[in-house]
């Protein structure tokens, strides 16, 4: 299910998602329409533009909050022209699971985007790589990240985007054990207790990055 006030973008997204094998159950131009559609037939996931009429500020997030109340299983993927840390923090702390926050640009990389939509629908968390890169690259006082190797930084970045260990091993062309070793090393260096849950990992990583 799609909600965006820009018709061309909405149609285009619907088309590429259909081509990727998704069933686009409905399209909405604003939050109210979206909520109507969700009530009538809750989808696996809703892809929502954060900035929508009437206020053109953060109506999408408000709609997402209401959808979670109406139908807690609907995955929520929020799109924006630009990604902000505080939005990401708010989304993750508010929804805990089945939520994503991406730049609109990501739609044009269909393979990744399709996978992101599926992960959100499955209850995972997805954070835009640009945001993660920005935070990880940032220099910090007494920066613990400075202790990470180049490889570990890459792994941390992917973790922060919400990837699982298996996804990491696929992405990095390494074995699952290697990934686990990296993750353990990172957690040790960052003084974070290991956790099985992906969104917990994201939360922890982001919380650390924002500290």
């Amino acid at each position: 299910m799609l909600a965006d006030d820009a018709v061309l973008f909405r149609e285009g997204t619907a088309r590429v998602l259909s081509e990727a094998g998704f069933d686009v159950a409905g399209q909405a131009g604003n939050a109210a329409e979206l909520l109507d559609l969700v009530r009538r037939d809750p989808p696996a996931a809703a892809i929502i533009d954060i900035r929508m009429p009437p206020g053109q500020t953060a109506e999408g997030i408000q709609a997402a909050v209401e959808i979670r109340q109406i139908s807690p299983d609907v995955g929520l993927l929020l799109l924006s022209q630009h990604v902000e840390t505080h939005h990401a923090m708010r989304l993750i702390t508010e929804f805990q699971r089945g939520v994503g926050y991406l730049l609109k640009d990501r739609v044009s990389d269909l393979a990744t985007f399709a996978s992101d939509v599926r992960r959100v629908a499955n209850g995972d968390c997805v954070i835009d790589p640009e945001l993660v890169t920005r935070l990880i690259d940032k220099q910090r006082e007494g920066d613990p990240l400075a202790e990470l190797t180049e490889r570990e930084r890459t792994v941390l970045g992917l973790m922060a985007q919400g990837r699982s260990n298996s996804a990491l091993s696929t992405e990095l062309y390494v074995s699952g054990k290697t990934v686990e070793a990296h993750v353990r090393s990172i957690f040790t260096k960052l003084n974070l207790p290991p956790d099985a849950c992906d969104h917990r990992r994201v939360l922890a990583v982001l919380a650390f990055l924002r500290s």
């Binding site: 820009a6 505080h86 269909l110 940032k138 910090r140």
Partner: protein, 696 residues
């Protein structure tokens, strides 16, 4: 209402006719009295009656509301009655048997004397406005009236005054106890009459001492007349052993009083008094000189047979030699007596410089200048003009115009026109080589500008240039200051509008980019994606796939750049989330670690938020680029309606005086919000940049 409407004109008509009727009655009595002969002992009553009534009628006709005029008429009429009664009695006493009822008519002319004296006294006390000098004088008047009534009653019952007045007509009443009454009368009567005289003289003296301006001038007329009358009486009694000159001089008093009431502005009495004093004194001195020389010395050297021609010659020579020095001295004394506190040249200049140093409005300075000139040179009128030769404007005059609003000549006058006046003295006011105005003054008729007065005038006029210059400078300066402040306010408002419009434009551009270009590019990316899929599905060659991939990459780059640009123009987060979030966002993107501690509790006006945001943005950029700092702190608080936001780094400092151009622009923007930027950047001690913005 109708009654009042009718009554008012009727009353007015009576008021208009009454003085003439009373004047006519008085004329009839006086003429009838004189037709019975001229009696020296009664002459003064006739003259007083005629003079006071005539002046009273004249004054009341000119100024119907003038109380003093009515008092004059009353005084005149009372004297007319008395005059006629006494003429009647005196004529009958001389054997004119054709006069019936002489006893009673004479009686009417005699007994009111005490009351008439009281009335005359009150009339003189009330000069010139018809009112007593102060309410306390009512007690004096009451005492006078009581005494007068008592004396008049006595005079009405017994012939106590008949002997004095040489009346041979008997008193019509025959009441017992005449001897006792006469004894008491002799004790009280004459002294009471003297006290009545003393009372009005005292009133006039009191009035003169505290009178100012017009009233003083009126009183001077009156006092002059009284003095002349007294002098005539004295000279007559001493030289001629006759009261006739004094009696004949009596009408001078009401005459002078009349002029003082009705015409005092037309004639200045001072020079007349002055001249009288000088001439009188000189005459007395010369006479005395002659008497001493011719009679005294003659006697000493034994010349008894009449005045010696030699002594007369010697006396004449001495008088001729002594005349001019004596006259000058007498003139000086007379000047001091008449003009009183006319200041010395030094005092006049000192007074002017005090006025100048005290400052004040230039109108007051001008008025002060005019009055100083008038006092200093004893001018009757002084006018101060400001301007160049062809366009003089009167700015002050002395005496001050009676009506402040209708004052002075308006419009421009030429200097040549001022010089036309007969008695006018004109002095150009020149300051620093250019003409600033003029002083014109007239002296009283017959008075000339003496050399010392001329010198003083010269000095005062030299100062006048300074006064005018200062006044003009002050006016000009105030005018300029006002203009500047108005312009400054306008500029401030304009700058604020411009900056506001700029922020608004930035917001609009960002929104347009978001809703327009960014959306379209993303959609384009989607289309390109479809094309790629399609190409892959239809088995297109690798070259096409590579080109498509390249295109998508380019597009992705373009989108990223556009996103950055939009953010730079106006961060959406600032509009949407406010300053706290936006500063957090800036900190997050800064290449250095930034500690953020901004707590504002509420949203601020858009312009304030935007300016503060750009200040922090610029400060962070500068710190990262130039300071070599390892960390930065941003602190912001809202207190007492002021936003204070501080960016501190631990770099090398020394940034004073070399604000980046971006920062200079921000100083200007802060100024439009009446805010300010302070940079504290000691060498080696880091840089602290603090912006303070009022936000209501």
């Amino acid at each position: 209402m109708a009654g009042a409407d009718v009554a008012l004109p009727a009353a007015r008509r009576v008021m208009r006719v009454a003085p003439w009727a009373l004047g006519g009655l008085c004329a009839v009595l006086v003429v009838a009295g004189f037709s019975l002969g001229v009696e020296l002992s009664n002459l003064h009553n006739g003259l007083i009656a005629a003079a006071f009534t005539a002046v009273g009628v004249f004054v009341v006709a000119k100024r119907p509301g003038n109380r003093e005029g009515w008092l004059f008429i009353a005084t005149g009429l009372a004297h007319a009655v008395m005059f006629f009664g006494r003429q009647y009695g005196l004529s009958a006493g001389h054997g004119n048997d054709a006069l019936p009822g002489a006893e009673w008519v004479t009686w009417v002319g005699v007994w009111p004397l005490a009351l008439v004296l009281v009335l005359s006294g009150v009339t003189l006390m009330c000069f010139p406005d018809g009112r007593l000098p102060s309410p306390r004088w009512r007690l004096v008047v009451a005492a006078m009236v009581a005494a007068g009534a008592l004396l008049a009653l006595a005079s009405a019952l017994w012939p106590v005054e008949y002997a004095d007045d040489a009346l041979s007509v008997p008193h019509p009443l025959h009441v017992g106890g005449y001897e006792t009454a006469q004894r008491l009368w002799n004790l009280i009567g004459p002294s009471s009459y003297s006290l009545f005289q003393l009372a009005w003289v005292a009133a006039v003296v009191v009035r003169m001492r505290r009178a100012e301006g017009d009233e003083a001038r009126q009183l001077r007329w009156f006092a002059y007349a009284v003095a002349m009358g007294a002098a005539a009486m004295a000279v007559g009694l001493i030289a001629l052993r006759s009261p006739v000159p004094g009696v004949l001089a009596v009408p001078v008093i009401p005459l002078a009083a009349g002029i003082a009431i009705a015409k005092y502005r037309l004639y200045d009495i001072d020079p007349v008094i002055n001249k009288t004093l000088v001439v009188g004194t000189m005459a007395a001195i010369i006479t005395a000189g002659y008497v001493v020389m011719v009679v005294g010395v003659g006697r000493l050297i034994g010349v008894e047979a009449g005045p010696s021609p030699v002594l007369s010659l010697v006396a004449t020579a001495i008088v001729a030699i002594a005349f001019e020095p004596a006259r000058r001295r007498v003139q000086r004394v007379a000047d001091r007596l008449v003009y009183g506190d006319r200041p010395s040249p030094y005092e006049a200049l000192a007074r002017l410089s005090t006025q100048l140093s005290r400052g004040g409005r230039h109108a007051e300075l001008f008025a002060g200048l005019a009055s100083t000139v008038a006092d200093g040179v004893g001018a009757a009128e002084v006018t101060l003009w400001v301007g160049a030769d062809e366009q003089l404007v009167a700015v002050a005059s002395w005496p001050p115009p009676a009506d402040q609003r209708s004052q002075l000549v308006t419009g421009h006058t030429q200097l040549a026109a001022l010089q036309d006046g007969e008695r006018a003295h004109v002095r150009r006011i020149v300051h620093q080589g250019s003409m600033r105005g003029a002083v014109t003054l007239t002296k009283a008729p017959g008075e000339v500008l003496t050399n010392s007065e001329d010198r003083l005038l010269h000095d005062l006029v030299a100062q006048a240039g300074l006064v005018i210059d200062n006044a003009e400078l002050g006016v000009e300066l105030q005018h300029r200051l006002h203009e500047i402040s108005v312009q400054a306010a306008e500029l401030q408002a304009a700058a604020k509008r411009i900056v506001g419009a700029q922020y608004e434009a930035r917001r609009r551009i960002e929104r347009d980019l978001h809703d327009g270009a960014q959306q379209r590019l993303v959609t384009l990316a989607l289309s390109l994606q479809s094309v790629s899929e399609r190409a892959a599905a239809t088995g297109a060659d690798d070259d096409l796939a590579a080109k498509l991939a390249e295109a998508r990459h380019q597009l992705s780059q373009a989108l990223a750049e556009l996103r950055e640009m939009a953010r730079g123009i106006h961060p959406a987060i600032l509009t949407q989330e406010g300053l706290e979030a936006a500063v957090g966002f800036l900190a997050e993107r800064a290449p250095l670690p930034v500690r953020v501690d901004v707590r504002l509790q509420r949203r601020l006006p858009q312009d304030v938020e935007a300016t503060a945001y750009f200040v922090v943005s610029e400060a962070l950029t500068n710190a990262a680029k130039h300071s070599g700092a390892s960390s930065i702190a941003v602190a912001g608080r809202l207190r007492d309606g002021w936003l204070r936001i501080e960016v501190t780094d631990d770099g090398r400092g020394g940034a004073d005086g070399r604000l980046g151009s971006g920062l200079q622009g921000l100083v200007d923007r802060l100024a439009t919000l009446e805010g300010q930027l302070t940079v504290d950047s000691p060498a080696g001690g880091g840089t602290r940049l603090r912006a303070e913005i009022p936000c209501g």
